[in-house]
């Protein structure tokens, strides 16, 4: 496997900047890659090729020809393999070189030289396992129940923000910004602008929640680590949104690189029958646009923050969730770097 990009030298800072390894990350919406098509994506600071075969199955390969390192994504989809545009080297969906047309019998043939990531497709999105050892089995993936429960209706909203991934996660671990940044939104106009928070442990992460208000604004968030990192939160709708109560968000943020993040927001609501249909109709015609406007408030704020904004802060009690998150990721990055250095 010498032709694989050697990542053993990743430092703790590099891992912190480009994302935790040895876990699942959301990659992109499933419909970004049609049957028989392929697409280049950059995730965790590296380039990848998403490749969908005609039977619908999806594969994910390092976007790097094992011959000279040219991007396979510029090559040709050959059904169950890709031919590099540079010299025609053919790599199958498992990462094995199957043909070197310019030199038949070349010793590259038959060797698995391209990293292939395990992928799953869930609730309209592609998830992939980013391991430090390309030959190791992926770890377990417990999916957020909001994404698999039949009694819940959902829409995925996907966007790319020019902000570090940690800022996007920290934004979700900061419920209080709802009452300020989103004060004039369709869903977060209510409630107090001061609050006390607490952290409540769970067996998969923790809740960060207001102690004195619930169901009025963005009042709580649960951070979960279940093989993939995600948050769950709930925000009330005004009466104009009809029956079904609050809507929820399952959120994920995947580093594209150190400065850019792919954000995933599944807006969901526990509705069935005609209530479900009306919500979906209203979402498509009216609500999606309003939700987007709220998301844009977050994007504009986060993109305007200096890349080192978190180096000159004065935090207070509302930031306990953010602090907790940072410590967790900082210590995990250090542990992963140490393990890689010793490997």
């Amino acid at each position: 496997m010498v032709n694989r990009l050697n990542k053993t030298a990743l430092t703790s800072d590099e891992i912190f900047a480009t994302g935790m390894r040895n876990q699942w990350h959301a990659v992109c919406p499933s419909d970004f890659v049609a049957r028989g098509d392929m697409k280049k994506v950059r995730r965790l600071g590296e380039d990848w090729l998403l490749f969908r075969q005609s039977d619908g199955s999806l594969r994910m390969l390092a976007d790097r020809c094992p011959h000279r390192g040219a991007p396979l994504s510029q090559g040709q989809h050959l059904g169950d393999r890709v031919a590099c545009k540079y010299h025609g080297v053919q790599v199958d969906v498992g990462g094995t070189v199957v043909s070197v047309p310019g030199m038949p019998g070349c010793n590259l043939e038959g060797k698995r030289l391209v990293t292939s990531l395990p992928v799953r497709e869930v609730a309209g999105a592609v998830l992939a396992w980013f391991g430090t050892d390309p030959d190791a089995e992926p770890g377990p993936l417990d999916l957020p129940e909001r994404l698999v429960d039949d009694g819940i209706s959902r829409f995925l909203c996907y966007a790319e923000w020019k902000a570090p991934w940690r800022f996007t996660l920290e934004n979700l671990l900061d419920p209080m910004h709802g009452a300020f940044l989103h004060r004039e939104s369709h869903s977060m106009f209510g409630g107090e602008t001061s609050a006390k928070f607490r952290i409540r442990e769970t067996d998969r992460g923790f809740f960060f929640e207001k102690t004195d208000q619930r169901g009025v604004n963005f009042d709580w968030v649960e951070f979960c680590r279940t093989g993939v990192d995600w948050v769950d939160l709930e925000i009330p709708y005004p009466p104009t949104a009809g029956p079904g109560g609050s809507f929820g968000i399952v959120g994920m943020g995947t580093p594209i690189d150190a400065e850019t993040t792919a954000v995933f927001f599944w807006r969901y609501r526990r509705v069935e029958g005609w209530e479900r249909d009306v919500w979906r109709f209203l979402y498509r015609t009216k609500l999606e646009e309003r939700h987007w406007a709220v998301l844009e408030q977050d994007r504009v704020m986060l993109e305007a923050m200096a890349a080192d904004a978190d180096q000159a802060e004065n935090l207070y009690q509302h930031d306990l969730g953010v602090i907790r998150l940072r410590r967790l990721y900082r210590s995990q990055a250090a542990a992963q770097a140490e393990a890689l250095a010793g490997a």
Binding site: P29, R42, F155, L156, C157, Y158, A159, E160, W161, K162, P238, P239, T240, A241, G242, P243, T260, G273, W274, R276, D277, V278, R280, F281, L282, Y283, R284, T285, K286, E288, E289, W292, R299
Partner: protein
């Protein structure tokens, strides 16, 4: 690198004038606090927002239309 920022992801096309008008009326009725089917249908009919056939809505015709447009 151009970043992906597409506001409309739940449907391939934007809503039609008919859909916008109907959605606006549904929100108007919901906004009065009426959240049950019969009340919603009556509210739409009272507003003069008819079904595509020109007839007043019934719970059946309304739920059929919503099922069609929810996908």
């Amino acid at each position: 690198m151009s970043l992906y920022l597409q506001p409309r992801q739940a449907g391939t096309t934007g809503p039609t004038p008919y859909e916008l008008k109907l959605a606006g009326a549904i929100e108007e009725v919901f906004g009065t606090g009426v959240h049950h089917l019969e009340g919603l249908v009556k509210g739409l009919n009272d507003l003069g927002i008819c079904s595509p056939t020109g007839e007043p809505w019934t719970p059946d015709t309304f739920t059929d239309e919503m099922r069609r447009m929810a996908a």
